[in-house]
Amino acid sequence: MKSFHLIRRSDVTLKQKVLLYILGIVISFVIGGIFLASLGINPIIYYRDMITIGLIGNRYPAKCVEGFLKLFVPLIITSVALSLSFKMRFWNIGGEGEFITGAIFAALVAFKLGPVLPTTAVIPLMGIAAALAAGVIGFITAHLKVKFNTNETLVTLMVNYIMLYVIKYIGETKAEWNFFLRDDSERPVFAKFPESAMMPGIKIGDFTLLASVIIAILITVGVYYYIKTTKHGFEVSVVGDSTNTAKYAGMSVYKITVRTIFISAALIGLAGAFTAASSGTISTDITNNVGWTGVIVAWLSKLSTPAIALVSVLISVLQYGCQVASASYPSIDHNFADLMQGIFLFSILAADFFGNFKIVKTGGKNDA
C-alpha cells in the first residue's frame, strides 16, 4: 500500500511563492465566478463593477472614495492591532468586543463633553477614553493568560458577545438615564453626536479627507517601526517564538504580554472611536464584522505590516465594491464579499502549504 507523507521544505524561492499566491488569488476568482455564473451573472462584468467600486460613470466619485475609506480605516487599524497579538501567538479574537467598547466610550465622551468643549479637545478625549477602555479588556485577558493560563481565544470570544449585548442594551432601552438615545423619538434610536464630536477633515473639492484616515496610516507606519526597530518589538517576537527562550533571556513575559495586548486592544478601541466620530453616531452593528475580517486580513498578510496595508485596501475594495454592485444585482448582497474573503483565505492557506511542505510518496505501509 502506497501512502504519502509530508516533509518541510525551504527550497522555495520568493518568486515561486509569489507565483503560488497569484495562482491562489486567480483560483479564488474562478471559484467566485462559478458562484456568480450559477446565478446567470457574467462574472467578468460583475468583477469589473466590483473592483471599480462604482467610480466609472459616477457623477460623484468623491462619495465613492469616502465610502471606501469608511471601511478601510477601521479595517487597517484592527488588522494591524491584531497582528501585534498574533505575532506573540496570543489569539486575541476579541476585535469585535474591543471595537464596541471603544465606540461606547467614545460616544460617552461625545455626549457628555461634546456640548461643552471644542473639537480639538473632544476628539482626542474620545480616542483616549476608547483606547483606555478597550485596553483594559486586553490587559485583563493578558493577565489571566499569563497568570492562570486561561484560554485567551475563548475569553475574548465571550467578551465579544457580552459587549454586543451591552451595546444592544444601550441602544434598545428607553430610560431617563440613557443619554445615548434621542429624546424626541418614541422608539429607541441612537442620538447624533454634537458637532464638536465629529471627525474633522480637510475639504479637497467635493472630497473630504477625514483626519482618521491620516491617523490610521500613521498608526500603521508606527506599528511597522515598533515591530521592526524597537526593543519592545523584538521582545514580542521572542515571546512569540518561545516563552521559555524569553524567560532564559531575562525578559519578563508577563510585562511584555500585558503591554502588547494592551496596545493591541487599545488600538482596536481607537478604531471604534474613529468609526463613531466619522459617522457621528453609534449603532448596534457598528463593527461591520471588522473584528473577524481583521483576523482574516492579518492572516492573509502573514502578519507583515506592509502586506496588511495592501490587503486592507483590497478587502475594503471588495467589500465596498460588493455593496455598490448589490444595487445593480439584486440577487447578490454584500455577503458575497464575505464569501470571497473566505475563499481568498483558503487559497492563500493552501498556497502557504505548498510553499512550506512537500508531499512525498513513501513505500510500504509500515514506514508511513
Binding site: 507523507h5 481565544t153 458577545y161 457580552i162 442594551y169 483576523v295 492572516w299
Partner: protein, 329 residues
C-alpha cells in the same frame, strides 16, 4: 392557567436547548480529537439551508436529515483538510468556515429569492417533523407535555448525546480518540492512526452540528428573511457550552437545558411576571439583553475560575488547538 404557563415554559426551554445540544455534542466530538473548531456557526448554517431545501424538494424528513448531515460533514472535511493535512491555524480556519458558511447561506437564500420553498407545500416533510406524543410519558401532569410531545429531532438529539457519552467512556475507539486530544504524540506511538481519527471525528461532529442547524431552520418555519441567519449566534453559544459542560456530552444535556432556560426567560419574562406577580414580578425589570448575554457571562466565569483553581476536574483536552505534525514531535 398557572400550570399551563409552567408547562409551556418548560416546553420552550426544550425547543431552545435542542439545537444547542446538537451543536455542543458536535463540538465536543471535535474538541476531544484535539481540534478547536470555531466554525460551528457556519457549519450549522450550511447544514440548515441545504438540509431544508433538500427536505422540501424531496418532501421527506429523512432526506433532509441526511443532506444536512452530509453537507455539514463536508464542511468538517474542509476544516480537516486545512488544519490536519495543510497544517493551517485552527482559529483562523474555523473563523473562515463561519464566514463562508454564513455567506453561502445568504447567497443561496438571496439567489432563490421568491423561489424559496414554502414549507406547508411539502406536506410529508411537515408531517414527519411534527410533534410526536410519547404514549404514557406525555400524560404525566405538568412536565409530560413539556418533555414528551416534541418532534423526532428532539428525541434524536438526546439519543445522540447519550450514545456519544457511551462512545467516549466505554469503547476503546473513544478512548483512543481522547488520547489523541490529550497527547497526539503518545497516541501516534501506540499506533493510533491520528489523521484518520481526526478526519472522521471532525466530520462526524460537524455533521451533528448540521442537524442542529436543520432543527433551527424548521423551528423558524423555514422561511428565509434575508437579513438574519437562522443560526443567529447559537454556534458561538455552543462553543461556550462545551466549556460549561466540561467536555461531556451527558453534562451537555443538562448544560443546554440551563442555557435554554436563560433564553426562554428572555422571551417569557413578561408573561411569567404577569402570572406570578408576587413571586416573579422582579423578572420584568431585568433587561432581555442580560438574558441573551448570560450564557457568555456564565461561561466566562467558568473559564476564569477553573483556570485559577488549576482545576484537576477539567476535562479540557490538553492538546486542543495545536496542530500535530509528526516530525515536530
Amino acid at each position: 392557567m398557572m400550570l399551563d404557563v409552567i408547562t409551556l415554559f418548560i416546553f420552550n426551554i426544550v425547543i431552545y436547548s435542542i439545537p444547542l445540544l446538537y451543536a455542543t455534542c458536535g463540538e465536543i466530538v471535535i474538541e476531544k480529537s484535539g481540534s478547536l473548531n470555531l466554525g460551528v456557526e457556519g457549519t450549522m448554517a450550511i447544514g440548515a439551508v441545504f438540509g431544508f431545501l433538500a427536505g422540501c424538494s424531496a418532501n421527506s424528513l429523512p432526506v433532509a436529515l441526511l443532506v444536512s448531515f452530509i453537507t455539514a460533514a463536508l464542511v468538517g472535511a474542509i476544516f480537516s483538510l486545512f488544519t490536519i493535512t495543510l497544517q493551517a491555524n485552527q482559529n483562523v480556519t474555523g473563523l473562515t468556515i463561519t464566514t463562508i458558511g454564513v455567506a453561502v447561506y445568504f447567497f443561496v437564500g438571496n439567489a432563490l429569492g421568491k423561489d424559496w420553498p414554502y414549507l406547508p407545500d411539502a406536506d410529508k416533510f411537515v408531517q414527519q417533523s411534527s410533534a410526536i406524543e410519547i404514549p404514557g410519558l406525555s400524560q404525566i401532569p405538568l412536565v409530560g407535555k413539556a418533555f414528551f410531545s416534541h418532534n423526532i429531532l428532539v428525541y434524536l438529539a438526546v439519543v445522540i448525546a447519550i450514545l456519544l457519552w457511551l462512545y467516549f467512556e466505554k469503547t476503546s475507539v473513544g478512548l483512543k480518540l481522547r488520547a489523541i486530544g490529550e497527547n497526539p504524540g503518545a497516541a501516534d506511538s501506540l499506533g493510533v492512526h491520528i489523521v484518520k481519527y481526526k478526519y472522521l471525528h471532525i466530520m462526524l461532529g460537524s455533521g451533528i452540528m448540521g442537524i442542529g442547524g436543520l432543527y433551527m431552520g424548521l423551528n423558524l418555519g423555514g422561511t428565509f428573511e434575508g437579513s438574519n441567519c437562522w443560526i443567529n449566534g447559537y454556534g458561538w453559544i455552543a462553543i461556550a457550552l462545551v466549556i460549561f459542560a466540561n467536555w461531556s456530552t451527558s453534562k451537555a444535556i443538562f448544560g443546554t437545558f440551563v442555557f435554554g432556560f436563560f433564553n426562554t426567560l428572555r422571551i417569557y419574562n413578561a408573561p411569567l411576571a404577569a402570572t406570578f406577580p408576587n413571586a416573579l414580578g422582579w423578572l420584568s425589570k431585568i433587561p432581555a439583553q442580560f438574558f441573551s448575554a448570560l450564557p457568555f457571562i456564565v461561561t466566562l466565569i467558568v473559564l476564569i475560575v477553573s483556570s485559577m483553581r488549576k482545576s484537576k476536574n477539567s476535562n479540557c483536552p490538553t492538546a486542543i488547538g495545536l496542530n500535530y505534525y509528526r516530525e515536530d514531535r
